[in-house]
């Protein structure tokens, strides 16, 4: 038998993790989605109190769903607050639970970035399916089962971290946890030196923070054993090219990223040939919706990613609003036929700032900030409202070796770059080094200080899309 250690030699030469599904024609994918969605709707109606109630209240007869267009427009959209509404200490998973609790094999929570954490139930199969959903991203960047993964975070109950771990196990790789009592960033760097992992898994901002800490310890992160970086959790290497460049330079590694929403048990892979993600079409059906018209956007236009997850049969996500703003493309130079989001996630509907008539996307600002040589990786976008107008201020730490005398010059440079590249004037405040918070999980870039009543008005508007 012509075998390598974990795969056959033919398997090692494969371009894709699964060429059969990753190059499936759009027609075949659509046909498959329709079959699976019809089946899934029946399951949701029969087994899930939340969806049965929703469909009944909205007078939706699932047998009337004959096409994907029927599905997109006749099945109501769902959103996190709707699911959260019925969750309480006496009914942990709320009404969105389709199996008896004895079938639940994993309990997780979302990171709570946008408010109260959501409880999630995964059944046994989901754990391995969601793990497997990471594998196309691992494979595409060159990671192989012989590699060793280092997870630079405390896992806690955050589904996203655990799913990466399950992914590495499913992939066949060796795993090292960087969690534990009293494990600091310094300790993690020493663990990397000692245990010699080849793949670093962390959020993009924390990865850059680790490189900064290594430098302070006199350790050259480029010369460590790390050959690959896999990220998720915040706009990173696929959405912000300058972050990719900084991570590549800081660690001397190749970068992969997955697009996930923590409540959805799936990781959509980064595209190795381009700057974006492919929807994982074996796990999910997705379409991109115009926030103004409610219709599907055309190719290359910006809209909100709406997904139906087909991996979890305990908690269901049907026509679910991710609030991620993406630009769909139906072809990609890499040859993968799965829906392609060029430029990655451009921003969030709940952080979208229409400033003097221009949509300002978080990632556009991140790209500009990270391109300035004197800017550090630590900054915030602060939203305020004055005189009936949204205002954005960029609070930025300069690099530690920049003299405070040059802060004014840095602020001016950034204001000019933003004005030139985005077309709006945004004020910049250079804040003292080490004054902004550091995050291991998800970096909070956007600090929304607009009045609560105004934000509630905005939320209502977005809800009525």
């Amino acid at each position: 038998m012509d075998s390598g250690k974990f795969l056959s030699s033919k398997g090692y030469e494969a371009r894709y993790w699964n060429e059969y599904s990753q190059t499936m024609s759009q027609e075949k994918l659509s046909e498959l989605h329709l079959k699976r969605i019809k089946n899934f709707l029946r399951y949701a109606y029969d087994a899930n109190k939340f969806y049965r109630g929703l469909f009944d209240r909205q007078k939706v007869n699932i047998d009337d769903i004959k096409t994907l267009e029927d599905f997109k427009y006749r099945i109501p959209l769902t959103d996190k607050p709707m699911i959260q509404e019925s969750q309480n200490p006496y009914n942990l998973y709320g009404d969105n639970l389709s199996v008896d609790v004895s079938f639940i094999a994993g309990h997780f929570v979302t990171s709570g970035t946008t408010g109260k954490p959501l409880h999630e139930a995964w059944e046994d199969y989901t754990i391995w399916r969601v793990g497997q959903s990471w594998c196309p991203a691992f494979w595409s960047v060159g990671i192989r089962p012989e590699d060793t993964f280092y997870f630079a975070f405390d896992f806690g109950g955050f589904a996203g971290f655990w799913s990466a771990y399950f992914g590495a196990l499913r992939f066949g790789a060796k795993v090292i946890s960087g969690a534990g009592v009293g494990v600091t960033t310094e300790k993690r760097i020493h663990q990397i030196l000692e245990l010699k992992p080849t793949v670093l898994v962390a959020t993009p901002t924390y990865t850059l923070h680790m490189a900064n800490v290594a430098k302070k310890l006199g350790i050259n992160s480029v010369k460590t054993s790390i050959k690959y970086y896999v990220g998720a959790g915040e706009p990173g290497t696929a959405s912000v090219p300058m972050i990719r460049k900084r991570i590549e330079e800081a660690w001397g590694c190749k970068c992969a990223e997955v697009l996930g929403v923590s409540e959805l048990p799936v990781a959509s892979p980064t595209c190795n040939a381009g700057d974006g993600f492919h929807e994982h079409e074996m796990h999910q059906f997705a379409w991109v919706r115009d926030p103004d018209t409610g219709k599907e956007v055309g190719e290359g236009e910006v809209g909100e990613r709406i997904v139906t997850n087909l991996s979890n049969y305990a908690t269901l996500w049907i026509n679910y609003r991710t609030h991620d703003l993406v630009r769909p493309n139906y072809s990609c130079p890499c040859g993968c036929t799965w829906l392609y989001y060029k430029g990655g996630v451009l921003g969030r509907t709940d952080h979208m700032l229409i400033y003097k008539g221009t949509n300002v996307y978080q990632t556009a600002i991140e790209n500009i900030v990270s391109s300035l040589p004197d800017a550090s990786d630590y900054f915030q976008l602060v939203l305020t409202r004055e005189n009936d107008e949204d205002l954005m201020t960029i609070k930025l730490e300069a690099k530690e070796d920049i003299s405070p005398e040059d802060y004014g010059k840095l602020a001016k440079n950034l204001e000019t770059e933003v004005k030139t590249k985005i077309g709006v004037s945004i004020s910049v405040e250079i804040v003292p080094v080490q004054s902004l918070p550091r995050y291991e999980v998800k970096t909070r870039r956007v600090i929304d200080q607009r009045p609560e009543e105004y934000k509630m008005e905005l939320a209502k508007k977005y809800k009525s899309f």
Binding site: E19, N39, D124, Y125, R129, M282
Partner: protein, 64 residues
């Protein structure tokens, strides 16, 4: 390049393998039952990934 003929043959064989596994899933030996369940989950997942299986859970009756 994907060998579509080989895939079709594999799909047929794996469906048969699942039928065989189902025959032993109530053998009454926990270790064997759990192993067979995991084996069946993997077979189901191969079929799903090849765009064949549309039944959402491996535990449900076979589709053919």
């Amino acid at each position: 390049m994907v060998d579509h003929q080989m895939i079709q043959k594999m799909v047929k064989d794996l469906r048969q393998a699942r039928r065989l596994i189902k025959g032993y899933q109530e053998i009454g030996i926990p270790e064997i039952e759990r192993c067979l369940r995991m084996a069946d989950m993997n077979l189901h997942w191969i079929l799903w990934g090849c765009g064949e299986a549309v039944q959402y859970l491996p535990d449900l009756p076979l589709e053919d």
